[in-house]
Subunit: 435 residues, 3 copies
């Protein structure tokens, strides 16, 4: 009988966090070293040169902004869950980039390895995967559960990326399949296992936006939008490939904005724009063009992919998300299926079409299809197993009536201010037994 | 008789947006291709080398941040118009950068052309022009009207820029005249044609800021301020010119902040600072130094230009904007005349003075004066014609009582939250017939 | 007898600001010129090459974002002091970077000097020092007082930096000692001299955050966090040193986040996270690793430093800040002692340990200890003297009951909106005599 999840939070969370941090320091001590020219020559299969570090640093930093500001603020749309959105996003990412560095280094080198610019870009990428999944379970999980998800998901992500890149040798430069689709379906699988019928019966008033929380979320949207060309080109081969990755992403995103606005207006029966669509579907073009971003698909081809992604994403929010929540018992808080899942699958299909149209001969249709299948399969199996582990009732998950509410895990500004802000009179910090 | 503008919005806006996007894809298919070394050699008058792409990419991205975050959030100062400010800003920019790429490419090459880094920087620049004009009509126009303005204004902008740069061969590296003054006077001309006497008779309560909307606007101000040196130097000649463009803009902006603060305090009768001045006039130094930014005007010269611009801009907000609204029947929502119009003219005059003082011999006083005159003339004529087209009562413009109110075009968070937020009890979604 | 501080503000502040700006223009006219190759060759001890300008420009710009967005928004946590936080931050920085350019140029060259990329990076650095001190006195001082503090503090900072870098030849690449510890202890000394017993007796209700002001502050936190590797590496020697400065800072910050979250949860008796800790202590790793950032301390060493800094910073907020306020009569509004002071000292101690462990032989333990002592000593003496000058009752300091309230120096949006927002009915603009 666990009467006070917060009391348990007081000891469990610090204990888990400190143990993980100590482990990271020890593992880094054993396995991680600086890169330099001498070491670089000894390490044959390195993919980055020390000289390149400062050249690619601006691209890395753009990705960094996307991870911490972009993902963090995109999730602040919930009126009472802003602290957790930016705060737990930061916590997840801080652990994820340490663990991602280790996992990817060990998978590729299997011994002591050296930190290059691509190591830290890839660490941010593996973190992105967890943050996408976080969107599906936002508001319904505890910080301890998220720390565990970081450890499990990044390990599975590393394995899948190794399969796709090293074994199948498929192309996926902007990671539509390995990050976006993977992260989305992993998160949906976790959300399915953790499904709370109680939340469906009694709709939680906190699962809403308010005027300014929607504006905070637009900070996230816009920084993601602006820097997406850097995301898709950060690890592309220098020269034509990197150039095309930037240009294709730029135009795909621009086209996506117009179709997302058009369909947002069209599907609402008052003909009004829906902020949820604008915050999310305008980014679908960046996801969908990812796999083919560095190929010569032509600017108009990129715009076509972006246009389709914008439409599919809006339709997903309008029709699929409610269907998932009611029929499939999968509740996707941020609609990551529409922003990352479907557009990620479109990205994989687009790459198959690109091979069919003779745009590239560096990969085959079969390998691209296998990469898409592997990513989805690994994600769903990994997500189901992770969900089962997170379901063990010792991680301090919030009771139903405290979902989407910062005050379970955060000191919120004076009751006066907080309640005033949200028109409340009852004590919504009152918690009840969890099991 | 059009009873429900929103019903019409439901079909007109998606129809226009989708048609435009399809046209863009087709036109890109015909005219736009990737740049590469071979093509580059064939295309003699190209101004960018493929190798330069990744070098200039960081400057491009700064400009991108200014367009989407800077302009977008700068306009969120209105308490109930934040969704439209950042949202329609994104829509305008997404269409504008596609159309700007086409117009500029076709004007310079008149056949199939190749996308270089300067193409996408210039596409962002042409978009900036429309966003400046958007500021003058903010809150009084519909999304459909804005899409039409994008198409018309960028075409006129392209012609004017061609005249100034290719025919007059005037210098205007930071585009004080061709972007800032042009965008401002174009917008003022449109605002003059679309003048609504009804809004003057019954002051609209929504045309105000609230505490947090002013803070959101400061996000826009600060990102514009920080990245302005990149804006003024992005297409400057590498080396000394680019270096000077950065340094001059940096010091001009710094000086401008002090004079803007000083005069903001001085002109208010309580001696208090006015957030409108701080949000806008602190940027006037970046506009005003633009034309001369890459010339050897000395850091102290740049500071002098910035100081003057800060003062003129504050005085413009205090005295000219009310005069324009009441006497000239031109209502300028964001005060773009004070941030972009006057400082842009100062920029042109500064360049004439610079030639007179022998700072450069790459241009003449007559050419600079002609460039300023051409920019203002083209802007005003183009703006008047655009205004007449936008006045046709089929574009779903909001009725007077719904100006500056997001709820006409957006689903706003639950009536409870929205009205609470703004102390309202009436149903402000009630619309009346438009014609 | 001074009845209306604002009336005095109306003349004093503009007068001081304009005089300072005119002085800057004149001094720049005498002493500052552009850098170019010829001049570079004449000026032997220059530390930057003209060619390097555009290479280091992206790092400069990151630092610029930290100064204006990072510091500015970090301080918006106070519910009624957001305008001053971002606004006066901009004012201080705009004056500071002009004055910092002059002071550093004159100290190193003692005659006319040339602006290179490192000049403008260093100008931003000197500004950072004042902004840190600003955090200690936030809400309790007038804009005029801050302009005076800029002039005095940057002069003292310049002297200390010259001592540490040129005389002691200590290493402090990320400026843990010369910027962070210096700025914090300078600010604490000023805050001690300006101590207001009245604020202690009657706790000011405005010295609190509200839900959205805490989210605005997170914008500042995250941009500081993201760009801190650029801060610590901006003036590092190109190549291995710069590479290590980036990598070490990246991992130190990541480790710091986990320990800060863990201890924030642990020290609060309900086991809840405290937003003040998350906003500040997650950055302590960037400060603490600064001095050693470019040394080969190993990634795991950097993570250890970051972990310790996160813990010390949270404990400082929990236990030291109240102790300082009640026992030492030093009231530190933003807790700069915990974010910059203690971690800065840790940075200095870490560099002594690094020398002891044989990580570097470019400096000695004695020199590092002397640098730390000099920085602290200069800061405290300089701060005490500055505090005495600021205490002269002619600078329009706000009366106790108007501390932490924007409405003393700013026009705030319509009384209706402002009071509604803050549940107030009284006229809080009523001011009383100051002396």
């Amino acid at each position: 009988m666990q009467l006070f999840p917060n009391t348990s939070m007081r000891f469990k969370f610090p204990f888990v966090a400190i143990c993980l941090q100590i482990s990271m320091i020890i593992l880094f001590g054993f396995f991680v070293d600086y890169e330099n020219k001498l070491k670089y020559l000894q390490q044959t299969n390195s993919s980055s040169q020390p000289d390149k570090f400062i050249e690619l640093y601006p691209l890395f930093r753009d990705v960094h902004v996307m991870i911490f500001i972009g993902f963090g603020f995109l999730m602040t749309f919930l009126k009472k869950y802003g602290f957790s959105s930016v705060g737990i996003n930061l916590l997840i990412a801080a652990l994820g980039l340490q663990w991602g560095t280790l996992i990817q280094g060990l998978l590729h080198h299997r011994k002591k390895f050296y930190i290059g610019i691509k190591s830290i870009i890839n660490a941010d990428f593996s973190t992105a995967t967890v943050l996408i999944s976080f969107g599906a379970v936002l508001g319904k999980t505890s910080p301890v559960q998220m720390l565990i998800m970081v450890i499990l998901e990044i390990a599975v992500f590393g394995v899948n990326e190794y399969l796709v890149g090293e074994i199948l040798k498929a192309t996926d430069i902007g990671a539509s399949m390995t990050i976006h689709a993977f992260g989305a379906y992993f998160g949906l699988a976790v959300a399915g296992v953790l499904y709370r019928p109680g939340l469906r019966r009694r709709r939680n008033d906190n699962e809403e936006s308010m005027y300014h929380s929607d504006l905070f979320a637009m900070i996230g949207t816009l920084f993601l939008w602006i820097f997406w060309p850097s995301f898709n080109s950060a690890i592309a081969e220098a020269g034509d490939h990197q150039y095309r990755a930037i240009v294709n992403t730029y135009f795909s995103l621009a086209a996506c904005v117009l179709t997302a606005f058009a369909f947002s207006c069209f599907v609402e029966h008052h003909g009004k724009l829906d902020m949820v669509h604008i915050q999310n579907a305008t980014l679908a073009g960046g996801v969908a063009v990812g796999t083919c971003a560095d190929l010569a698909i032509q600017p108009c081809g990129a715009m076509l992919i972006g246009s389709i992604a914008g439409i599919v994403s809006v339709l997903g929010f309008k029709f699929l998300t409610p269907f998932f929540a009611t029929k499939l018992r999968i509740h996707d808080t941020c609609g990551v299926h529409n922003l990352h899942g479907l557009p990620g699958v479109i990205g994989g299909i687009a790459s198959i079409a690109a091979v069919a149209l003779g745009v590239t001969d560096e990969t085959t249709m079969a390998m691209q299809a296998a990469a898409l299948g592997t990513s989805l399969g690994t994600a769903i199996v990994g997500g189901l197993l992770t969900g089962l582990i997170l379901k063990i009732p010792i991680w301090g998950a919030p009771p139903d009536q405290n979902c989407y509410d910062d005050s379970v895990y955060w000191e919120v500004p004076g009751v006066e201010g907080y309640n005033h802000y949200f028109h409340e009179t009852g004590d919504h910090r009152q918690l009840q037994s969890e099991d």
